[in-house]
């Protein structure tokens, strides 16, 4: 091919910033990440873990109290039959989306920046799904019948209703959880072997050794590993989409105004990724503060990219909100119109929960717009504040969908207010305790950054890498 006379120079402002800053070497990465697990338990960890686990215990006590007394201890009533229970379920299951998205979809699309955040995000996913799984189990009331959620052959020949989206939920969530655990664990194996090899105590060596499944890092093992990881990524990708789509079916298959709308599946998925990324940052930013050595691995560039995803998904969610509003008007169905424009927006002061709608709109659509400004995306305080808004907003989104539609339904004579009871409030708070306790345990015992994958994105991993040549080039 003939060549032109001009040279093509990458302008300085377009040169890509390295993903691992300060040109850190592979040994540095191994040392710093492993050190988090190997060092003595820091005081702050105990100061965080004890209150979190205490809150988790309170939550579990509330669940015990509810099981022994029945769902009557909650604030639900005949009109508002679903409230905080399903709100919390959808909230947590939504959060459990970002991890697998980062791990699977960003892996398939060759987004190398995922490597330093995927491990923690995946762990967070699993813990969020654990929290989510509690609510459908206990909201059935007679929890000892919860086994009936699964289609287990029984002597009475009674089966769950296969045409019910609630049953699809059981399949979707349990499949998602299983594949996510496998995916997370598969990615952990090489790093567990590193910890095993570095372990000084016999117990640690033994335990990490068991879970490292005899990993020796041979060529053959790597080949199998990479195939397994790719296949699991391929399997996880449709699951990321299917779980929240099926959750949205719980509502959208009904004829309830505000629930029955065809855009629900992609809208829920976008919302889940949105909320999930906000929670990843909510956890990652303080972790980064506590472990300053991670600064070179989880950089401003990572935060900037995640903020962009929050902006994108927040805007998609905004599109869905506005499309719903538009169709509530265009569809000319007076019940649908009432739900959106009166019960939610509060025209003529008729919306009991319109305040919740405005909280949702502000937190989910308005607040992420701050991320149009680059300096805001790289300002950790600003990012953290916006993420907190998003966390709140995504909880309110589910509350708005569920409670506003039910409380003011077709028949005004059956309208009913809903107030959460202390049991509901503490059960929900308790799930935060469970979530954070599990995450703190994860930080303590497992490498929170995928060491071997991060090494792959450093210049050192390039077969054509010449350290000397690089140094010369810098002059």
């Amino acid at each position: 091919m003939a060549e032109s006379t001009v040279t093509l120079t990458t302008p300085p402002e377009l040169v890509r910033v390295p993903l691992v800053t300060n040109d850190r070497k592979h040994t540095w990465i191994t040392d710093k990440v492993s050190n988090i697990v190997e060092a003595r338990t820091p005081l702050w960890w105990w100061m965080a873990f004890l209150p979190c686990s205490l809150i988790a215990v309170i939550g579990l006590l509330c669940i015990g109290y509810q099981i022994s007394n029945g769902v009557g201890v909650w604030g639900e009533n005949k009109t508002v039959g679903w409230a905080w229970d399903i709100t919390n379920f959808v909230f947590w299951i939504g959060i459990g989306h970002a991890g697998t998205l980062i791990s699977a979809i960003l892996f398939l699309t060759r987004q190398k920046w995922r490597t330093s955040i995927n491990r923690a995000a995946e762990a967070m996913t699993l813990f969020a799904v654990v929290c989510a799984g509690i609510f459908p189990g206990i909201h059935v009331g007679r929890v000892w019948m919860a086994w009936f959620l699964a289609p287990i052959p029984n002597a009475n020949g009674i089966w769950p209703n296969f045409r019910s989206p609630l049953l699809w939920d059981v399949f979707a969530v349990s499949t998602y959880f299983t594949v996510s655990v496998l995916f997370w664990y598969t990615g952990l194996v090489p790093d567990l072997a590193t910890l095993r090899d570095r372990a000084k105590s016999r117990v640690a060596k033994y335990l990490y050794g068991i879970f490292a499944l005899g990993w020796r890092g041979s060529n053959r093992q790597w080949r199998h590993y990479e195939m397994a990881y790719l296949l699991l990524a391929g399997l996880s990708t449709p699951l990321v989409l299917s779980v929240h789509s099926v959750v949205s079916f719980d509502f959208a298959t009904s004829i309830m105004p505000g629930w029955h709308t065809t855009i629900f599946p992609p809208y829920f998925v976008a919302g889940a990724i949105f909320g999930g990324f906000a929670m990843v940052l909510t956890i990652l930013l303080p972790s980064r503060l506590l472990y300053p050595q991670l600064d070179d691995l989880v950089t401003r560039q990572h935060v900037d990219k995640m903020a962009k995803i929050i902006l994108l998904t927040g805007t998609i969610v905004g599109y869905a909100y506005l499309t719903e509003l538009f169709m509530a008007y265009y569809g000319a169905n007076k019940f649908e119109f009432f739900t959106f424009f009166s019960a939610r927006i509060g025209i003529n002061n008729s919306g009991w929960y319109s305040w919740a709608y405005y909280v949702m709109m502000f937190c989910n659509v308005i607040s992420p717009q701050l991320f149009w400004i680059k300096s805001m995306r790289t300002n950790y305080v600003a990012v953290f504040i916006v993420c907190m808004f998003v966390n709140v907003g995504m909880w309110f989104e589910r509350f708005v969908i569920i409670v506003t539609s039910l409380a003011q339904d077709f028949l005004p004579s059956s309208w009913h207010h809903y107030h959460p009871s202390w049991v509901e409030i503490w059960t929900f708070v308790g799930t935060f305790g469970i979530f954070l306790s599990l995450f703190l345990l994860f930080m303590r015992f497992l490498p929170m950054i995928c060491m071997f994958e991060v090494k792959l994105v450093t210049p050192e991993a390039d077969p054509h890498h010449h350290p000397k040549k690089d140094q010369e080039g810098q002059h």
């Binding site: 001009v6 120079t9 377009l14 805007t315 008007y329 265009y330 210049p459 890498h465």
Partner: protein
């Protein structure tokens, strides 16, 4: 892993030589003029059939070009490297968008009452229509249509202009400007394709509504547009151009075709299932017509042809990296045609399939004209962005 040097000597600019395609340009022009001429007869003798046929052909090409604008915008918004070598052809396809304003004129000026039943219904006759008169009225309808074309034309032209200017000076400022237009372009495409879909397609039955509709139209548009891009690149390669485009680029384009086949199925299934499950008559009417008589076969074939056939084929890497991707691309474009046909024509022939010569003439007419205009675009600039700062990454692409 990327190369650490930041300075390369770029490959020579490639210019398209019209001689390479023989008389194709003239053939397309003759098809365009001939097709439009036959359609013009339909305009006078069977106005209603003409209106639906024209809307069908118009929507088909319009959605593909909107898809091209979406892809162009996406590459800039994500600062994408892989696509630099093929991006100019996306830009050339998107650059056709302003011409659609001209092709829409016969519909909006002379055929509106035939297509959109609400057009001539007086206030007070249908309470449901009265309810949404704030949106469905003539003035706002004109204004919206003008808005769609204006914004689409502005963004597509600006992206093309900046990109070709960069060919001359290689300045980074164009990259930054295109990034801004790209981000804005995604918003413009999302809103234009959704609301154009609501106005022109969903409005064929003004009682019917579905919040998913905009996403559904977009899903089909994006997938088929990527397929057309594959074919354009293949044709150019077969004429000796774009030698730097290799199987790695095809691999990525194939992945997008796969992704959007799945996405189309996901959106289509969700919309269908939710409407079927809730079983509300004012919503099911759309599918009732399309599941009745001969339309039922078209609908079933669409599901199989648009998803179940391309899905396993595109899943294989071998398809995406070899000539077979072209066959799949042609297939997807045909399926997009069927999709739009099943959206538009059953609104006229509610009792079953009734082919018309004007369906074909409109398709050949608009297709020929657009093909001819595309070839004109092709000679106006280099075949790939010669001095794009990300060109090196695209040349050295490895999946």
């Amino acid at each position: 892993m990327s190369d650490h040097s930041h300075e390369i000597t770029p490959p020579a600019a490639e210019k398209f030589d019209a001689k390479h395609i023989g008389g194709l340009s003239q053939i397309l022009l003759v098809c365009g003029v001939g097709g439009i001429g036959v359609s013009a007869i339909g305009f006078f003798v069977a106005r209603q059939q003409f209106a639906f046929s024209w809307l069908f052909a118009f929507t088909y090409f319009f959605t593909i070009c909107c898809g091209a604008l979406f892809w162009t915008s996406l590459q800039h918004a994500t600062d994408s490297e892989w696509s630099v070598l093929v991006r100019r052809q996306m830009e050339n396809l998107a650059k056709l968008l302003p011409w659609f304003a001209l092709l829409f004129l016969p519909l909006i000026l002379f055929c509106a009452p035939y297509l959109w039943k609400w057009w001539n219904i007086a206030p007070g006759v249908d309470p449901l229509l009265d309810f949404k008169q704030g949106y469905l009225n003539h003035t706002f309808f004109y204004a919206r249509a003008a808005g769609y074309f204006l914004f689409l034309a502005w963004v597509s032209h600006s992206l093309w202009k900046r990109s070709t200017s960069q060919d001359a000076d290689g300045a980074a400022k164009h990259t930054f400007a295109m990034r801004k237009f790209g981000i804005g372009g995604i918003v413009v495409v999302a809103l234009a394709i959704s609301f154009a879909g609501f106005d022109w397609l969903m409005g064929l039955d003004y009682h019917w509504f579905s919040t998913m509709w905009g996403v559904y139209v977009f899903a089909g548009a994006a997938g088929s547009s990527m397929s057309l891009l594959v074919l354009v690149i293949t044709v150019l390669k077969s004429k000796g151009y774009l030698k730097l485009v290799n199987s790695e680029h095809y691999h990525i384009m194939g992945k997008f075709m796969l992704a959007f086949s799945i996405f189309w199925a996901y959106i289509g299934y969700s919309q269908y299932m939710l409407i079927w499950y809730a079983n509300i008559p004012e919503e099911t009417i759309y599918f009732r017509i399309r599941n009745t008589d001969s339309w039922w076969y078209f609908s079933q074939f669409l599901v199989i042809g648009r998803f179940f056939l391309p899905f396993p084929v595109l899943l294989m890497q071998a398809t995406k990296k070899t000539k077979y991707i072209n066959h799949v691309a042609v297939w997807i474009l045909v399926m997009q045609l069927l999709d739009i046909y099943v959206i538009v024509l059953p609104a006229l022939h509610r009792t079953g399939f009734r082919p018309s010569l004007f369906d074909l003439s409109a398709l050949v007419g608009i297709g020929g004209l657009m093909g001819w205009l595309f070839l004109r675009n092709l000679v106006q600039s280099n075949l790939f962005p010669t001095r794009d700062p990300r060109l090196l990454g695209s040349i050295k692409l490895s999946n």
